[in-house]
């Protein structure tokens, strides 16, 4: 009936491609039927191991950094009412659209080899800035953290609506300071949302392509670059390998989701009142 | 043949029976109430009549026609829901006109009818307002107008006043009853509030656990509840087991329970015995004014008895005071 168009589109552009990717991963690029050789290649070749390791590393770092900043930012928004909070939210919304090629470009202007901050660092003698190399995995984590912050903050803001001021008042009356409240009550209560946001951040970072490509093209060892590289490019396409790499990426995302789910269940005593 | 006949209605959700063999007749032009506690099935029965729920088995006849298999929109039945049923994107006037528009009536006719009905329900000033701009009571009046403007055969009301505050509820009860009688509409009203049912109905059907406990006009149901449940639900009956009765009067009861109304038991002079009455001696435990009724709770040998008198303000008993009560046998009902 009326479900048909929806199912057709979903099937064509979501389900079938997904299935094919998984199937491809088990097919040899040389064309000889079902095989695990793609996975073997990944496990053996240093290039792919590095790519996976780098991707996980940068995703974890940026997600952690992003969520810490986002927590503080969302808390700040929740605790103030005025114009500044509104402005902050507006800027967060604006900047969340910033990711991809434009972001890479802006960072090149800012922290590239001839970048503004680099000049400042050279002039003022701050070696951290002067010697900053954007074009490494570590340099790029700056950019990753940058685009994680708005996303994470916007996701966490609604969660703070669930912190009742009565809890804070109870802790204060019982003699506790604010830091104690957050350590013992606030953060544990918010853990499900924090963990959920963390897993979204992780997936976001793991799959980031445009920003990285704009800076480094294919010259960096990260998972999304390798995946795209096996399908598109000058060299012969290797859909089998690309499929296997894609499966690895999806598995990593799912693992993170399962992990955060499991952890958050630990914090959800007696179910969610929401 | 009654105007509405519901025969052998059974409604099951999976293996749970919500309605068990309901048989119900409704006469034309009457306002009947389906009364009962939550979960008794009254709303389900109403929704079966409307067609929004399908019966598992049984038949429904309206004006001689079998409507059991008919879709809701073909049954010519109007319905007022508990709340939030007005379309938020339309004004009051547009909401009310909706049903007529669907029937493809002419612009002029629609305008005329909307004007009239809004006057009847007292919303002429609010015609161009949106539902979010009017109060809960006004919303329900608009919902009422919308439901009756198409002149349906039956009007169903599913706890329409439950979300309205108490003071407003009384005047809306009167208004609904007035409109129903003026326009001579057959109406079926669902509520859990027994005083509401008493005030509005020509006939009350008391439901409990999916079955009809008793069907009677309000006065009859109040004075002669047929089952224990009815006695506990209607009014404020004093309810006693045979053990308690023995404690109070020293007499033996050959039934399990005995009930009587708090206004039927009276204070009397000591030492007087009357024919066909039970007399008891007790002590005043408490005295609470419920509006115009003064309720005493009297301790009779360890058993509490509620005694209601009109609050005249003159002679009042005091806490701890000794007193004598009498209740006519005919005012007692035993099960």
């Amino acid at each position: 009936m009326a479900l048909l168009p929806f199912l057709v589109v979903a099937l064509l552009y979501e389900i079938i491609p997904l299935i094919m990717v998984i199937m491809n991963s088990f097919q040899s690029d040389a064309g000889t039927g079902i095989t695990l050789e793609n996975y073997q290649t990944i496990a053996e070749k240093l290039l792919y191991q590095k790519a996976i390791f780098n991707s996980i590393r940068i995703s974890l770092i940026s997600s952690l950094g992003g969520i810490v900043v986002a927590f503080l930012g969302a808390k700040a928004i929740a605790e103030s009412k005025g114009k500044i909070a509104n402005l902050f939210m507006t800027i967060l919304n604006m900047v969340s659209n910033f990711a991809g090629v434009p972001l890479a470009f802006a960072y090149m202007v800012l922290l590239g080899n001839a970048g503004f901050m680099v000049h400042v660092g050279q002039k003022l003698g701050i070696s951290a800035l002067a010697d900053f190399n954007l074009y490494t995995s570590d340099g790029m984590s700056m950019i990753y953290i940058y685009f994680q912050i708005p996303l994470a903050t916007l996701l966490l803001v609604p969660a703070f609506a669930g912190i009742r001021k009565e809890w804070k008042e109870a802790v204060a009356l019982l003699g506790g300071k604010e830091g104690l409240f957050w350590r013992k009550v606030g953060i544990p209560v918010l853990m499900p949302e924090i963990l959920g946001t963390f897993s979204v951040l992780f997936a976001n970072a793991l799959a980031a392509y445009a920003t990285v490509y704009a800076l480094m093209m294919n010259n960096i060892s990260l998972l999304p670059i390798q995946i795209a590289g096996s399908y598109v490019g000058e060299v012969k396409t290797r859909p089998g390998l690309g499929g296997a790499l894609s499966v690895v990426m999806m598995v990593l995302m799912c693992l993170m989701i399962l992990l955060t789910n499991r952890m958050s269940r630990h914090f959800q005593k007696g179910g969610n009142p929401s | 043949m009654a105007y509405i006949e519901m025969k052998q209605i059974v409604k099951k959700y999976g293996t749970t029976s919500v309605l068990k063999q309901i048989n119900l007749d409704i006469e034309k032009g009457q306002l009947v109430t389906l009364l009962g506690p939550s979960g008794c099935g009254k709303s389900t029965l109403l929704r079966c009549l409307s067609g929004l729920e399908e019966v598992t088995s049984g038949k429904i006849f309206l004006d001689g026609q079998d409507i059991t298999e008919l879709e809701p929109r073909k049954r010519e039945i109007g319905m007022v829901f508990q709340q939030y049923s007005l379309f938020p994107n339309m004004t009051v006037a547009q909401n009310v006109a909706f049903g007529l528009k669907l029937k493809k009536k002419s612009e002029g006719e629609i305008r005329e009818k909307v004007k009239n009905i809004l006057e009847i329900v007292g919303l002429s000033q609010q015609a161009d307002r949106y539902p979010t701009q009017i109060s809960g009571g006004q919303q329900q009046r608009a919902a009422l107008a919308r439901a009756i403007i198409t002149e349906p055969k039956v009007l169903l009301l599913d706890e329409p006043l439950s979300a309205i505050d108490a003071l407003l509820r009384r005047s809306l009860q009167n208004e609904i009853r007035r409109i129903q009688q003026e326009l001579n509409i057959t109406a079926v009203f669902v509520t859990h509030d027994q005083s509401e049912a008493m005030v509005m109905s020509d006939m009350i059907h008391l439901l409990y656990q999916g079955q009809i406990e008793q069907s009677a006009p309000p006065a009859e149901m109040y004075l002669h509840p047929k089952t224990r449940f009815a006695a506990s639900f209607i009014g404020n009956y004093n309810i006693y087991t045979d053990v308690q009765f023995h404690q109070m009067t020293g007499l033996k009861l050959d039934r399990e329970m005995l009930v009587f109304r708090p206004e039927a038991v009276m204070f009397c002079d000591p030492g007087r015995t009357e024919m066909n009455s039970y007399t008891m001696k007790g002590t005043i435990k408490s005295e609470i004014a419920h509006g115009n009724v003064l309720r005493y709770t009297v301790d009779v040998n360890g058993v509490p008895v509620n005694v209601d008198t009109l609050f005249q303000g003159e002679e009042r008993y005091e806490k701890g005071q000794e007193c004598y009560l009498k209740i006519a046998e005919k005012d007692c009902i035993s099960y």
Partner: protein, 261 residues
């Protein structure tokens, strides 16, 4: 209390500064010809003049925006139809519709682009057409947002009661859904459609992998320009940011208007 407000304000300002820094620096970069020292030199709007007169660039903008319209239209229609069926006839299917709509969250970007590519590159004329693949991909990546928007809109109004009331007044179910429910969730649909515009506008990976450089959207244009002329690229950047900010501003405005109601 005072101290706390100061601290929170300071924190927010700090984060805002961090977020705005690259933006501001690049804007400044686009407005000056020379910037080798701390202070830029030679203020000029020359770059802007050049690109705004570049037909290719203007075509790019149009192309990018046009690419938003079709997928959004498709997705809104199909999800509305699907949710019509699940709300009115089969509520139990809603779970599956939700799962299907949420999957793109995880397979976004790279994986979706390459999987669609490998699936249809050798297919016949219609499915193998690059633009068709692109629009199909876009329709899928915006599904979570459109679905969520429609869902949120529907939970704000009491769908069940409204549909039943319309039914009792004589309306058929489809009439009730499209004439009563949809108008009431229109603002939610518009907000999520704008979100989708933002996403499609900012997409690079799908366009590049599916159409190579044959379909030049704004992001590809920026990428190509930044390899050659960075001053010009920064002007392009600013224009992109302006358009994106405009979209965001309109979205926020509509969201707030909705909340006031």
């Amino acid at each position: 209390m005072k101290k706390k407000t100061k601290a929170t304000t300071f924190l927010m300002v700090l984060i805002m500064a961090y977020l705005l820094l690259p933006l501001v620096v690049t804007i400044v970069y686009s407005l000056f010809q020379k910037w080798t020292d701390i202070v830029p030199e030679q203020f000029s709007l020359g770059s802007y003049v050049i690109i705004l007169q570049d037909k290719e660039f203007l075509l790019c903008i149009v192309r990018t925006l046009a690419a938003c319209v079709i997928p959004i239209g498709i997705t809104v229609c199909i999800i509305l139809l699907a949710m019509f069926v699940t709300t009115v006839y089969f509520p139990s299917l809603d779970k599956y519709v939700q799962i299907i709509c949420m999957i793109p969250y995880t397979i976004q970007g790279v994986i979706l682009s390459v999987s669609i590519l490998s699936a249809y590159i050798r297919a016949g004329s219609f499915l193998g057409n690059r633009l068709v693949m692109l629009f199909g991909a876009y329709s899928v990546i915006i599904m979570p947002y459109i679905y969520q928007g429609i869902k949120n809109g529907m939970s704000a109004i009491n769908v069940k009661v409204l549909t039943e009331a319309a039914e009792m007044l004589g309306a058929a179910r489809m009439y009730a859904f499209f004439r009563i429910i949809v108008p009431n969730i229109l603002s939610s649909i518009v907000v999520s459609a704008l979100l989708a515009v933002g996403i499609i506008f900012g997409d690079y990976v799908l366009v590049r992998n599916l159409t190579g450089t044959s379909f030049q959207n704004m992001q590809i244009y920026l990428y190509q320009t930044m390899k050659s002329d960075s001053t010009k690229a920064s002007a392009v950047f600013v224009i992109i940011m302006l358009i994106t900010c405009l979209i965001t501003a309109v979205t926020l405005y509509l969201k707030n208007k909705e909340r006031e109601k």
